[in-house]
Symmetry: C2
Subunit: 321 residues, 2 copies
């Protein structure tokens, strides 16, 4: 049975994985989820990326929105606002809150996040094994300049409240130095036949996962092909604000710019059909590159993307090429 | 300005206090609330009696039900059930959960329950100063005999899940030995012109309040008249299951039975009109007694009850008699 291990952020990761499940229905898929955008809101431990993947693959996602629950209600949020509770820039839906209550209570009882995630997935049956990158607390903070004052704010505040409108001067993963991979992470990388980087945000979704001690090394030393899909088409992200964070770390907003971040681990890289001109530039980095349609417009298109990634990997393993 | 201090449980207490506010609109009313039926559910600190009083006086109560929020929704509870989260015998409404989130988060941040209650009341403006009996944790547990096994369960489980259908062998207020009155409690008793015991459950609502170190002594030594209203009419409680807990502690289920629990603190006692025959028995206990209508069927009837209690107190103070 083909063993696939994928690193994933939230919306893009979840949608791509839905296509991967369709493209490789018999594969054993492990997903290493980003937890650096986790945040404590109203005393609840919220794991936006893990939940987005879980809801997307488990059939609970709000499809149009891409995050949060379908058929959501907002009574709790209304009441929290009536109490003047902060923050008010992040609205938690009622159904979503139940997930956070279960998580927060289990964490308080001493269960690690990986065990909590497994328990939550027991309900959602996402069809993949979803493992957080680490059981330790890591939070992405963004340093912004507000009227000459440098202030570090949680990534979610910058992303959700400010819509990344103020430039991020620096991006910091607090707690990353001491974070170790959650149980199962290194094993899944070690056992993988293929390792996939979905078109998630390379800086704040894939970045923190690779920054956990030992994970980047496991990918670079892996004998399994590591293939990624560009989240950038032309000079803009397909979705989200990856361009803003790429600029912060001084990386060109282009398919080859992002590939350049991962040359130590990448064996293959898919760019969008319209970016076929960059293929030689990526291959010059020592990374096999193909141009295929990369718009996740529906499940068929997404499944075709996943198949293209698996084909590229198979080619790299020498079976198809 | 007349200073009234009342001890209160949940539904009966809240409804009576609404009548008291109508009867004495210019009085300064402090309510010492029972916290012994507090319970932690899904990691949330729930204070049923405090909230019932706050919602009732603040206009947020579900009127027919007597507890919980008006216009309530239950998305969180549905989802918690889908996760198989326990307990499932206590359903928290979404709007109600917001209150518990604010409380739980403030407690976790180090605020005492009294400060949390004040913050919550800042929204609800109940028209009284609501103070928990103690900032320490006290929980009412009930010892039941299940097939020969003695088991202590939380009062809420016995009351809500079992509907008090198994006899309570013993009632224990865990933590009561070390509990001290919350800030403002003894001051409010000391400053009171009248102290009122609403028709709350004498065992599990009034009982724990009086069991907090110093409170019973403050009532018995007070120069202000202490007047109470019987929660029992004839041989049955007006509402609730006070008879079950009275039997546990070996007290006769009658207006004079309940009065007998409080002879050290009571100066006056109101019984229902139909119980006028017990008046001499109560007076034989050294407690001034009057028979008046005690059914809180509407706000006018409840206000008349409160007026009767204040009249009785005034008579005891020697102004009217």
């Amino acid at each position: 049975m083909l063993k696939i291990t994928a690193l994933a952020g939230g919306i893009g990761g979840g949608r791509f994985l839905r296509g991967l499940l369709r493209a490789a229905p018999d594969a054993e898929i492990t997903v290493i989820g980003n937890t650096a955008d986790d945040i404590t809101l109203h005393g609840l431990h919220v794991s936006p990326d893990l939940d987005t993947v879980m809801y997307t693959l488990g059939g609970g996602i709000h499809e149009e929105q891409g995050w949060g629950r379908a058929d959501e209600t907002f009574s709790v949020a209304e009441e929290l606002a009536a109490y003047g509770a902060h923050p008010q820039w992040f609205t938690l839906g009622d159904r979503d809150i139940a997930t956070h209550l279960v998580r927060t209570q289990m964490l308080a009882a001493g269960y690690p996040l990986s065990a909590v995630t497994e328990a939550l997935c027991d309900r959602w049956q996402p069809g993949v094994r979803l493992v957080p990158m680490t059981d330790e607390r890591v939070e992405t903070h963004v340093v912004v300049d507000e009227d000459g004052h440098h202030r570090a704010i949680h990534f979610q505040e910058w992303w959700v409240r400010m819509h990344a409108s103020i430039p991020a001067e620096r991006i910091v993963f607090t707690g990353i130095e001491s974070a170790t991979p959650a149980p199962g992470v290194l094993d899944a990388l070690d056992a993988a036949d293929v390792i996939v980087l979905p078109p998630s945000n390379p800086v704040v979704s894939i970045g923190p996962i690779l920054a956990v001690s030992g994970i980047r090394e496991a990918l670079s030393s892996s004998t399994a092909p590591v293939v990624g899909l560009s989240p950038i088409i032309g000079t803009a992200p397909v979705r989200g604000m990856a361009d803003a964070v790429l600029r912060t770390i001084g990386v060109e907003v282009s398919p080859q710019g992002v590939a350049g971040m991962f040359t130590d681990i990448l064996d293959g890289w898919l760019v969008h059909s319209s970016d076929s001109d960059v293929v030689p530039h990526v291959e010059a980095l020592g990374v096999r590159c193909r141009a295929v349609p990369l718009l996740m417009s529906d499940i068929d298109a997404t499944s075709a993307m996943a198949s293209a990634a698996l084909d590229l990997a198979a080619g790299i393993r020498g079976r198809d090429s």
